[in-house]
């Protein structure tokens, strides 16, 4: 019993910290509609900067608290800089493009932090005056945790006053609803957005700085907190402060008690709750339906036409190179090419959801991974031959695509993206924690191709044939009646339904089809590598897929192909050439977003059309 009380209290302390970060994220989203992936990086910077300030400043109250507040302010300024230099220029870009830009910032900050503070975990001093512990129900409880429990409600109250009792807050709330109208009433939105970013970043920085006495500062803080913060913000309802508080409480306690009750599925638990909440309440606990986002004329999607002759010739030439060249290459180069082929299919499958489907998927790696695990589990437990394993891969991914998709395609926008993420994380957690079957973190080894396909070159041709075939099939689907229906429901669900298209069913099938295609890619990847690991389904892999599609451009069919080639090639080269590949990749992403907002293929197409008229 006493233990439970303490557990509840430590859950409250976590909830408090979580709320600080999530409140910043939700405030920023509310006004700017930017899903700020870099929010976790700001949190991490808050912790690092606090460490530097606190260890440099003289010891004592002033040094510690001055350091914490100084770090929060610095992070606020960094956030302001990110907004002014980057985000301000892309407010009109599609949601996922903004997300891509902020992910570029994540990569940049990771390497900058590594360069500045090194790879080792840093331990900060404990808070002066709060070092001891108090006795609660006969057990000792750290004072600092008690202090944290108080911080959350205080910040919530201050934010409430700020938003409801000041002119600035009123303007922010108005802009959350209709930013264009606020501008037409003479309010400089830019200043408003910038100040909101400052506030939100400051909260992230404060959240990070306050962790200093609690845990070590390390380079993984950014992604671990951002997933949790996303969960909190989405469960609470995007843009809702009180929702974020409620959800933080829920998630914090869930963590605290989950460990006691079901230690085996702690990782899944949070995402299960998120999935459950979104299935029951599609806009989170206290969220409101997204108003048809006002401001910024939503540009019509260009029509997808057949490829112009020049592009066909280019594609044929590329194919010829892909077929003729490999026998003259070494094993390493051939396996790189195999991966390229696989990622082209992976990207093309995600593109079907995002481009023609008009849905956002944040967890497409789940289906890649499910395909890989499908093949590997069949090989491991059933001793299935390779071709059976490869057949099972899309089946497994497709079935889960049907199940997960059934829930995901009912939602829209960020909520849909987050639900796909939740399902992907559930799949990942199962692979990670169900050690008896999946081998957990150690993965499944020895998934090798049958003897006939064992030579790298043969396997390459097999992968090329399957991936090319599947990619062309997806392309065909877009031009088939099903594809027309898919694009019709994207452009206007209501009008599509009015002419008899069952939009839900079309989206659902599209989602499952894309999942199955990703499964083929995953199965091929498993046999190519000889092993599968939970990371195949991790967030970074989902982000990779997004990067490929967005780099190439969502609006063209060749986009994902070009994006996959560019991204995989680039990453491959960068990792080989420099330790700072994240920094460089991040910079490239940011520059691409700024200067090629339609993606590489989109930019090429715009140039082509400018010179030759409509394609």
């Amino acid at each position: 019993m006493e233990n439970l009380v303490l557990q509840a209290l430590s859950g409250l302390a976590s909830a408090s910290s979580l709320f600080l970060v999530a409140s910043g994220l939700t405030v920023i989203f509310g006004v700017s509609r930017v899903v700020n992936f870099a929010h976790g990086s700001l949190y991490m910077l808050g912790a690092y900067l606090a460490w530097t300030l606190v260890t440099t400043l003289p010891r004592g109250h002033l040094g510690f608290w001055g350091g914490v507040i100084g770090a929060a302010l610095l992070v606020g300024l960094i956030g302001l800089l990110v907004e002014v230099l980057l985000l301000r220029r892309i407010y009109r870009a599609p949601e996922l493009f903004q997300l891509l830009a902020t992910f570029g910032v994540v990569l940049i900050v990771q390497d900058l932090a590594l360069m500045t503070w090194g790879a080792q975990d840093l331990l900060g001093p404990r808070a002066p005056g709060l070092r001891g512990s108090v006795e609660i129900v006969g057990l000792r409880f750290p004072l600092y945790e008690l202090f944290l429990i108080g911080v959350g409600p205080v910040v919530l109250a201050l934010l409430w006053l700020l938003f409801h009792r000041t002119r600035w807050g009123t303007l922010v709330r108005a802009a959350t609803q209709d930013r264009e109208m606020v501008g037409a009433l003479g309010v400089n939105q830019r200043m408003l957005f910038t100040s909101v970013f400052f506030l939100g970043s400051l909260l992230a920085g404060l959240g990070g700085a306050l962790q200093l006495p609690r845990e070590s500062v390390n380079l993984h803080m950014d992604l671990s907190i951002i997933t949790e913060a996303f969960v909190v913000v989405v469960v609470g309802g995007l843009g809702s402060l009180s929702g974020a508080a409620l959800a933080a409480l829920l998630i914090g306690e869930l963590h605290a008690f989950g460990i006691l009750i079901v230690p085996k599925i702690t990782l899944v638990l949070v995402f299960l709750v998120m999935a459950l909440v979104l299935v029951v309440r599609p806009h989170g606990l206290l969220g409101k339906p997204e108003a048809a986002a006002r401001g910024g004329q939503g540009s019509a999607e260009p029509v997808i036409g057949p490829a112009p002759p020049a592009l066909r010739w280019l594609a044929l030439a590329a194919l010829a190179v892909a077929v003729v060249l490999p026998p003259f290459l070494g094993d390493y180069a051939v396996s790189v090419l195999t991966e390229l082929a696989i990622f082209v299919l992976f990207a093309a499958s995600l593109h079907l959801i995002m481009g023609p489907g008009g849905m956002a998927s944040f967890g497409h790696a789940a289906y890649f991974g499910l395909g890989a695990y499908g093949a590997a589990l069949a090989a491991q437990w059933l001793g299935a031959p390779m071709l059976a394993g490869l057949a099972l891969a899309p089946l497994m991914a497709g079935i889960f695509g049907l199940v997960f998709g059934y829930f995901c395609v009912r939602l829209s926008g960020v909520y849909a993206a987050m639900l796909t993420l939740a399902f992907a994380q559930i799949a990942w957690s199962v692979a990670f924690q169900w050690v008896e079957v999946t081998g957990g973190d150690n993965g499944i080894l020895g998934v090798w191709p049958d003897a006939w396909a064992a030579p790298k070159l043969v396997y390459y041709y097999l992968a090329l044939a399957l991936c090319l075939g599947a990619t062309l099939f997806l392309r065909r689907v877009v031009h088939a009646p099903f594809g027309y229906a898919l694009r019709a429901q994207r452009d206007s669900t209501l009008r599509a339904e009015a002419i008899g298209i069952d939009a839900f069913r079309i989206r659902w099938l599209g989602f499952a089809l894309a999942a199955a295609a990703a499964g083929i890619a995953g199965g091929l990847f498993a046999y190519g590598k000889g092993s599968v690991f939970p990371t195949y389904m991790g967030i970074p892999r989902s982000v990779d897929a997004l990067l490929m599609v967005l780099l190439g451009g969502v609006q063209t069919l060749s986009g994902p192909i070009i994006g996959a080639l560019a991204f995989t090639g680039l990453q491959e080269q960068l990792v080989r050439l420099t330790d700072l590949w994240r920094l460089i990749l991040g910079c490239i992403i940011v520059l691409l977003v700024l200067f090629f907002p339609q993606g590489l293929a989109g930019a090429a197409r715009a140039r082509w059309e400018a010179r030759h008229g409509d394609a």
């Binding site: 002119r167 009123t170 303007l171 709330r173 108005a174 609803q177 209709d178 264009e180 109208m181 606020v182 501008g183 037409a184 009433l185 003479g186 309010v187 400089n188 939105q189 006002r294 004329q297 540009s299 019509a300």
Partner: protein
């Protein structure tokens, strides 16, 4: 006070305005008449900078404002009352007014919530009600009041009578006449000729993005064939 000349505007590739030219003098009420989809709202948005004009010039109090951002244009003393009202539904009446508040130019009697409640008494009785829980007529009053809080010299009033009950339209007409008496210039867009003729000095007719006719209200009432061609449904 406001001179629009040769303004063209596009939505994507669709040509919506084709060389729109009109002007509003100081203290004048000019009505822009036309059927649904004729380009009335787009003309308003082009003046306000919400749909940036692709060509042409918009001069307000002698200064070129085409190409400026909406908030800059608003700060020059141009008020915009959108057709869809666009009330901040989660903000109370008084907070909606607060969003619109801007300092008045020297010599102008500034609008305050109290003065506006004098103009629209029903708003005064529901100061703390969220904008989302008001009737259409009340919202229409609130959106005008909100724009007036910015102390504009001229307001763009986009179809204020749309979807309102006759008795409310009557009250709206009174309010517009009161504003004119204060010296405010108004560019009104309307489909409702009855409403327009009571409050306006001059009329300009737009069809398919082009200005087809301009003249005084008595001239318009005399020109049966013009009304027949451009306004009858």
């Amino acid at each position: 006070m406001l001179q629009v000349s040769g303004v063209s505007a596009y939505y994507g590739r669709a040509h919506i305005l084709d060389g729109v030219t009109l002007d509003v003098g100081a203290g004048e009420v000019v009505v822009l008449l036309g059927r649904n989809g004729a380009g009335k709202s787009t003309t308003m948005k082009a003046i306000m900078g919400l749909v940036p004009p692709a060509a042409g010039s918009v001069r307000f109090q002698g200064a070129e404002i085409a190409g400026q951002e909406p908030f800059e244009i608003a700060r020059r003393g141009l008020g915009y009352v959108p057709e869809e009202r666009r009330i901040f539904s989660e903000l109370s009446v008084i907070e909606n007014l607060e969003v619109g508040r801007r300092p008045a130019a020297a010599g102008l009697r500034p609008w305050t919530p109290e003065r506006l409640f004098g103009l629209f008494p029903s708003l005064g009785a529901m100061q703390d009600r969220p904008g989302g829980r008001m009737s259409g007529g009340e919202q229409q009053m609130l959106t005008i009041a909100r724009t007036l809080m910015g102390n504009p010299r001229l307001i763009l009033l986009d179809e204020p009578s749309e979807g309102l009950a006759p008795v409310i339209i009557e009250r709206m007409a009174e309010a517009i006449r009161a504003l004119k008496a204060e010296g405010l210039s108004i560019l009104l867009s309307e489909q409702n000729l009855h409403f327009a003729q009571v409050v306006s000095d001059r009329a300009t007719i737009i069809e398919k993005g082009r200005i087809r006719w301009s003249g005084s209200i008595p001239e318009l009432l005399a020109a049966d064939e013009v009304r027949e061609q451009y306004l009858s449904v």
